[in-house]
């Protein structure tokens, strides 16, 4: 923000005038962006210094906030770096991402989360908010120094062993209790480990035929049921990562009705793709939790529409191609998602009439920012607010080409599909990180470092 700049310096001199953008898909207005904020809205605005963008037919939304991103750095720079992952994020319409802790070394100390935070600032494409590990080395045995990470320059508020489940009930209880000291939240990867030993895909009709070890829905649901009861017992905040089954939705709905402080996330791929794709044995469809059934997809969409599921989280998980060019059982789990999330949500929820663009802003920006406690993100599109915005052409159609993406990962399950909706511009702190649908330049944090 300009207020954070040293006196007399204006590191962000960008000024843009968006003409005729539909705010959250509704009322059309001009927006004048300058000094990192929305200076003015209304019709017939003019500004001599501003670059004018014709936003006729375009929708303006708050910049998207991902609660679940794997940036792979430090440790797996062959798969992704903070630089490439956040370029992908900006292109996908994001202005903030939460970087999951399963890097190497694991983000389980103040030092590692500050490193990731600094890499994010140096890159300048989005706000990078590190997620801290719940347990040392994600080993599920001993609490990591949660307080030190919270107090660090990275100001960690979300903690997760994602990739691994905090399966020990006592440890989970302690973690839920402990983070209350700094208003943190535990984001659980709900997977009962014994029920999913060697699991390769959803357990059911298709796994029976394919002879692949099943990942039963109950292994997710049993952990969620336990965790919401623990959250109730110790009056803590729980966030459930990548909900994938109809049964999980029922449990979360029940918990919310009882006033339990639980939020839930769903990935774009679980809103669309089903286990039938595994019949190809193409590991691009291998993901954890696995693709489920049609009934699950329907239940997940309804859960977003009725508010049971609060947010979209991409679970963007890039892998080098050799990790997918192999037998199914040998392949790594995970899919890229940052550059397709907006389009997939538009296709599955907006174009089906299940949600509005205002709802889209809530589930991709406002609520994710609230869960992650990002003050400058997920705000209203109104004068005086920070200019973290995305300009979308909902009428555009494009065909997914993983080779053309900014992420290093080529593992998009949507390759070759035609998707609706394109990001025309992304504004991060008033600076256009994306213009005309292409990367522009990063925001320069130099003045704030």
């Amino acid at each position: 923000m300009s207020s954070a700049n040293p006196a007399g310096q204006t590191p962000n001199a960008d000024r843009y005038l968006l003409r005729g953008a539909a705010v959250l898909g509704g009322e059309r207005t001009d927006l004048l962006i300058g000094d990192g904020v929305i200076l003015e809205t209304g019709t017939g605005l003019s500004d001599a210094r501003a670059a004018v963008l014709d936003a006729d037919g375009l929708v303006v939304l708050p910049g998207m906030v991902d609660v679940h991103t794997h940036l792979r750095e430090p440790g797996r720079e062959d798969a992704e770096t903070v630089e490439t992952g956040t370029r992908a994020a900006a292109l996908g319409g994001y202005t903030a991402v939460h970087a999951m802790a399963n890097s190497s070394p694991v983000a389980d100390t103040a030092g590692v989360v500050e490193q990731v935070y600094s890499l994010g600032r140096a890159a300048g494409w989005v706000d990078v908010r590190p997620v801290g590990a719940v347990t040392v080395g994600l080993a599920g045995e001993q609490l990591a120094e949660l307080g030190a990470m919270a107090d660090s320059r990275a100001r960690v508020r979300m903690f997760s062993d994602d990739g691994m489940c905090v399966h020990d009930p006592v440890l989970m209880r302690r973690a839920l209790e402990y983070v209350k000291a700094f208003d943190g939240v535990i984001a659980q990867h709900a997977q009962e480990p014994r029920l999913t030993a060697g699991a390769q895909m959803n357990e059911g009709k298709v796994s029976a035929v394919l002879g692949l070890t099943g990942w039963p829905a109950v292994a997710e649901e049993a952990i969620i049921a336990r965790d919401v009861l623990l959250a109730q017992h110790v009056d803590s905040r729980l966030h459930v990562c990548h909900v994938s089954t109809a049964g999980s939705v029922d449990i979360i709905r029940w918990a919310k009705a009882r006033g339990i402080k639980v939020t839930a996330e769903v990935t774009p791929h679980h809103l669309w793709l089903t286990e039938d794709l595994v019949r190809s044995y193409d590991p691009v469809y291998k993901v954890n939790p696995p693709l489920r059934s049609d009934e699950d997809v329907t239940a997940l969409r309804e859960a977003v529409a009725d508010g049971t599921i609060d947010v979209i989280g991409t679970d963007h998980a890039p892998h080098p191609s050799e990790a997918k060019e192999c037998e199914w059982a040998q392949a790594a789990m995970g899919m890229t998602g940052l550059e397709t999330a907006l389009s997939v949500v538009q296709h599955t929820l907006v174009e089906t009439g299940m949600i509005s663009w205002a709802d889209f802003a809530r589930i991709t920006s406002a609520t994710p920012a609230r869960i992650g406690q990002l003050q400058d993100q997920g705000r209203l599109v109104a004068a005086g607010e920070p200019a973290n915005l995305v300009l979308v052409d909902p009428a555009a159609r494009w065909t997914v080409d993983p080779a053309a993406m900014a992420t290093k990962g080529r593992n998009s399950p949507f390759a070759g599909r035609e998707l609706p909706g394109a990001v025309k511009a992304t504004f991060f702190r008033g600076h256009a990180t994306v213009l005309d649908g292409a990367l522009n330049t990063p925001y320069d944090f130099a003045g704030e470092l």
Partner: protein, 333 residues
């Protein structure tokens, strides 16, 4: 047919054609010179990521009887150690101009991956993949059953299917590629199938399969069975709580001497007893049952070569009528 990957997607026409061709091949095996020139100059690679001497030598014998060049390639790499990648191996075989790759792999779907990846141009034959399929085993089982069924019905085998045949398959269905391939193929050929197993050794989702499911071997036999197929059960399964002990398993689901005797009292005088091998005598099958005149275990091994010859022949030599007539001429001369 471009590849032979599974019986799930094998149509009735192709299945019957393989069985009929196998009958012709079997006639070659009865001759003094057991060799046909059909695949001279062609290269068949046996690519085994998992040890199975019996399956490898069966394919090797089949390819050699068709005069193909055979290369045995035991690839390193297991579920634990990664070893050479499937892609690199495939590209090596492509560089060697393999015409067919017979692949055995511990990972379900590896043959399909090989066939559809674009890494290789050769015909791919699945010789057993993980717990997915083992199509040539099911074809040799069907071949064995068809001969038996035709003899009983005084029909010619050729052109026939298995309509009316009652088959029971007992054992570890969950981990069995043989069971899966048999269920699909037997359905396609018109037989009725009952799977018999402890509930722990049946996959979730088996209720969608085109067969009956029973937990009780005796009541299944009492309803009448024409072919009783026993599946290999690994005693180690009891360590993962699939069943309490080998003894309890054998008592409830093994084909023991008491059940062998019961076939006579049930009036099932023509029922055959099948096993894909290798057998765990005393666990899923008693020695008396395995060695009885009802047992087709050795016939299955013999028929395996004929069926694999048929599969390789149909995949590699094209499938024109002229060529088939040519084959008939050679094999009957």
């Amino acid at each position: 047919m471009r590849h032979l990957l599974s019986t799930e997607d094998l149509g009735r026409g192709d299945a019957v054609r393989i069985l009929d061709t196998a009958e012709e091949m079997s006639a070659v095996g009865d001759r003094e010179v057991k060799k046909l020139p059909a695949l001279r100059g062609r290269t068949v690679v046996n690519l085994f990521f998992e040890d199975s001497t019996r399956t490898r030598i069966s394919f090797e014998a089949a390819a050699k009887r068709l005069s193909a060049d055979v290369i045995n390639f035991a690839a390193k790499g297991s579920s634990v150690s990664k070893g050479e990648s499937l892609k690199d191996t495939a590209q090596t075989l492509e560089a060697m101009s393999a015409d067919a790759v017979v692949i055995r792999h511990w990972a379900s779907g590896a043959p399909q991956r090989l066939a559809n990846s674009g890494w290789i141009d050769a015909a791919v034959v699945n010789a057993g993949d993980g717990t997915h399929e083992h199509p040539t085993q099911a074809l040799l089982d069907a071949f064995t059953m068809r001969r038996h069924w035709s003899r009983l019905n005084r029909n010619a085998s050729t052109g026939a299917d298995l309509t009316g045949l009652r088959v029971a398959i007992a054992g570890d269905v969950l981990h069995s590629r043989v069971a899966r391939s048999n269920v699909w193929l037997l359905r396609t050929l018109g037989a009725s199938v009952t799977l018999v197993a402890p509930p722990t050794l049946l996959p979730v989702g088996v209720e969608h399969w085109p067969c009956e499911v029973s937990y009780d071997l005796d009541s299944t036999l009492a309803k009448g069975v024409d072919a009783m197929m026993m599946l290999r059960v690994q005693a180690e399964r009891m360590n993962a709580s699939f069943f309490p002990s080998a003894r309890e398993y054998a008592r409830r689901w093994g084909f023991d001497d008491r059940r062998l005797a019961s076939l006579d009292s049930l009036g099932l005088k023509d029922t055959i007893i099948m096993h894909p091998g290798p057998m765990n005598r005393g666990l899923e099958i008693s020695s008396a049952a395995a060695d009885s005149p009802r047992s087709t275990v050795l016939a299955q091994v013999r028929n395996g070569v004929s069926v694999r010859m048929a599969a390789l022949y149909l995949l590699l030599s094209g499938d024109t009528r002229e060529e088939r007539n040519e084959l008939t001429k050679v094999s009957s001369s």
